[in-house]
């Protein structure tokens, strides 16, 4: 059953997505998202080197060997940054292209007859994963499913085992270090797993589309929730949905399956950006309007309170002053005044504005919150 093309492709996609969504949230929250870009390029170097040394193009040795090149990449970036001669972003942009370039040159020179080619590097071959199978405990299954499944399990165990350490290490590395939780070691563990996941996913989705899988679904989740556990869960959900939608569209339009899956993560991101209940643009625009009106009323209360007992009261606490002194356009001034009067904060008598007790209370609370 696992060798059925549809099932093999979908299963591989789901495993890539879920394995990535386990790690991505920590990278995003640590503001190290671009390290995944660096790692996913750098593993091309590791994959070529491991192949040259061992002749292996898949399996655990290959995955771990090539995975180390991602860690090497991060270590080089840190070493360069530590010289103080170059900023971190420039160091990232210097190290990974060099490793990637070295990998491509090795490809040019040694690998003309191997199935790793330019195409795989960039696009992956998820459409063909069902061709390359292996029997485990009597069950025929695609190599990709086997190894992606193994990596997913390793990631799952790692994240569950070190959940609270990862959480604290992400939000407050200093405190985590003070507790003896070794946040740096844990961070390198996270990056090693990121590399390993990238290597395992390489055949299926290529080096660059992997970035979409590890960044976009967690970013989507980040726009929907403030809780880390939810972020991981929603990220996985987004991945799985993208895999199904992407596969269907790719088949319908006869285009790259991995490309379409990656692109669909973007569709979910767009939806979250626009309609996310707390951080989405539409709900926020709605609230922003309400906030602005509320702030305008507050500003008026403070203004009236400030000048209430001063000699300039006759000049300041009149409806015209909203336009001449507060510099508001007439329509805005009228709206603010109407809201203030309707809320019982202000009495509008002729041109003069008089604070009610309620309005005065509001101004005082705003100005001297510590007296509350």
């Amino acid at each position: 059953m696992l060798t059925d093309p549809d099932i093999a492709i979908l299963l591989t996609g789901i495993l890539v997505g879920c394995a990535s969504a386990l790690l991505g949230p920590f990278l995003i929250l640590r503001q190290n998202a671009m390290l995944s870009d660096a790692i996913s390029h750098a593993i091309v170097f590791g994959i070529m080197l491991t192949w040259l040394l061992t002749g292996l193009v898949s399996g655990p040795v290959q995955i771990l060997g090539a995975g180390l090149s991602g860690v090497l990449c991060v270590w080089l970036i840190e070493a360069l940054t530590r010289t103080g001669r170059i900023k971190e972003d420039a160091a990232i942009g210097l190290v990974f292209p060099a490793l990637f370039a070295a990998g491509v040159l090795m490809l040019n020179v040694f690998a003309r007859n191997v199935h790793i080619d330019v195409h795989t590097v960039l696009l992956g071959e998820i459409g063909f994963v069902w061709l390359d199978t292996v029997a485990v405990a009597g069950i025929e299954m695609p190599n990709a499913v086997l190894w992606m499944g193994a990596v997913f399990l390793v990631n799952l165990v790692f994240v569950m085992l070190f959940w609270k350490e990862l959480k604290l290490g992400t939000f407050d590395p200093t405190l985590a270090a003070a507790f003896g939780l070794h946040p740096r070691l844990l961070f390198y563990g996270l990056l090693l797993l990121t590399s390993i996941t990238a290597v395992a996913a390489f055949d299926a989705v290529g080096a660059i589309l992997f970035i979409a899988f590890i960044i976009v679904p967690p970013a989507t989740a980040y726009l929907l929730t403030d809780r880390l556990a939810w972020m991981v869960g929603l990220g996985m959900l987004t991945s799985v949905a993208s895999v199904f939608a992407g596969y269907a569209l790719a088949v319908a339009w006869d285009v790259s399956i991995s490309g379409m899956m990656a692109l669909m993560t973007g569709a979910f991101l767009m939806a979250a950006i626009t309609f996310g209940p707390r951080y989405g643009l539409v709900p926020r625009a709605w609230r922003y309007r309400a906030d602005r009106e509320r702030n305008d009323v507050r500003a008026l209360m403070v203004h009236l309170h400030t000048h209430e007992s001063g000699s300039d009261r006759a000049e300041e606490n009149v409806s015209d002053a909203l336009i001449t002194h507060l510099n508001w356009p007439e329509i805005r001034a009228k709206t603010v005044m109407r809201r203030a009067v309707n809320s019982g904060l202000v009495l509008h008598d002729g041109g003069v504005l008089e604070l009610t007790d309620q309005g005065r209370d509001m101004a005082r609370t705003l100005l001297e919150p510590w007296r509350r």
């Binding site: 001669r85 210097l94 970035i211």
Partner: protein
């Protein structure tokens, strides 16, 4: 001399030279504004533009392809800006999102183009890793004016770019439209990326924005020096890489150019006078030695005062005890400088040293 008459090679070298100069100049500003990785995002993001340009022109016509690339590069730049401004995502995530999603769109379009019956796909693959040999004379006629305009704009807006890069807040207070200038600089990064697409390819252009500028930064004291040097380093990397790729069989040009540029950068970070890492290590070592020497001389002075004897012979073991470590090397240095000399005190008790007249003067004993 034959090399000069080889059209393919000449075109490749000229194209790479153009790319090197422009990306060095534009990259300098990106580097100083801490926008290095924008080049990475923009270059990956040009892929859908390349495919669309190809589709619309119905073939590998450079004009439409470059136009498409610039448009999508700029769109990606705007997407990054919009994500950072409008959502709670930070710059790093925004860069990664724009990079990977635009690239995914490119991959989808690429497979669509390849699926079209009769569409020659060979032309497009060269945009991934770069193939300088594919540069035609007619391509140069497109690239050279673009490069000239970019460099001209940089010269024209020189002082505005400089101030907006160094101190954008101050620039705003004197009335410079900083946002517009920053947008223009980002647009120019997109143009630099596009000039390099044929030679270096979408994946590796990021390095060409960063490496020449980062190398030049180590050697320069002013922005003027940095930009000129970055242009020269970019030019050298481009030409050397293009020439190297023409010697071997089937070498992609991009990786070679990038490795040359990275090599120059690494060497610069190590050895550049003043800023170089090795330079500083040597400097520190030298300072350390001087401090050690002063400390040992101070010990001599102390012992001389204590014993009221300017020719008091000091034993090696005593010095070691005083300083809590072996000071043999310092003693050798001081002897070599003629500040102390070995004195035969009592053979059985080991080596002794006394201050020479020069040493007495240097340690301040002579003044007292």
């Amino acid at each position: 001399m034959d090399l000069l008459f080889d059209h393919t090679l000449r075109n490749a070298a000229l194209g790479a030279a153009l790319l090197g100069v422009v990306s060095g100049v534009i990259g300098s500003f990106a580097l100083l504004r801490r926008q290095s990785l924008i080049g990475d995002t923009l270059s990956h993001a040009t892929l859908p533009g390349i495919c669309l340009g190809f589709l619309i022109a119905g073939g590998r016509a450079l004009g439409p392809i470059l136009l498409g690339a610039v448009v999508f590069g700029v769109l990606a730049g705007l997407a990054v800006l919009a994500l950072v401004r409008a959502t709670r995502l930070k710059t790093d995530a925004a860069l990664g999102i724009a990079l990977s999603l635009f690239f995914a769109l490119g991959v989808v379009l690429l497979t669509y183009v390849q699926g079209q019956a009769g569409a020659a796909q060979a032309g497009l693959e060269s945009f991934l890793f770069g193939q300088a040999a594919a540069v035609l004379t007619s391509d140069l006629a497109v690239l050279a004016p673009i490069a000239a305009v970019t460099l001209g704009l940089t010269a024209l807006f020189w002082k505005e770019f400089k101030l907006a890069s160094f101190d954008p807040v101050f620039a705003r207070t004197i009335g410079l439209p900083v946002t517009a200038l920053e947008t223009l600089m980002t647009l120019m990064v997109a143009i630099a990326v596009v000039i390099g697409l044929q030679m270096v390819g979408v994946v590796l252009m990021a390095a060409m924005i960063i490496a020449p500028a980062a190398a030049a930064r180590q050697w320069s004291r002013t922005l003027e020096q940095m930009v000129v040097l970055a242009a020269l380093i970019g030019l050298a990397s481009g030409v050397i890489g293009a020439l190297l790729s023409s010697t071997g069989q089937g070498f992609s040009t991009g990786p070679l150019i990038v490795l040359v540029a990275t090599g120059i950068t690494v060497v610069s970070i190590l050895v550049a006078p003043g800023r170089g890492v090795l330079w500083q290590v040597m400097q520190r070592h030298h300072e350390r030695q001087q401090i050690d020497a002063e400390e040992v001389l101070a010990t001599f002075r102390h012992l001389i005062y204590e014993h009221g004897d300017p020719t008091y012979p000091v034993e090696r073991g005593m010095l070691n005890t005083y300083h809590g470590r072996g000071v043999s090397r310092v003693i050798e240095d001081l002897t070599a400088q003629g500040l102390i000399a070995q004195a035969s005190h009592m053979d059985s008790e080991g080596d002794h040293w006394v201050l020479t007249p020069k040493g007495l003067e240097r340690s301040g004993v002579a003044d007292a």
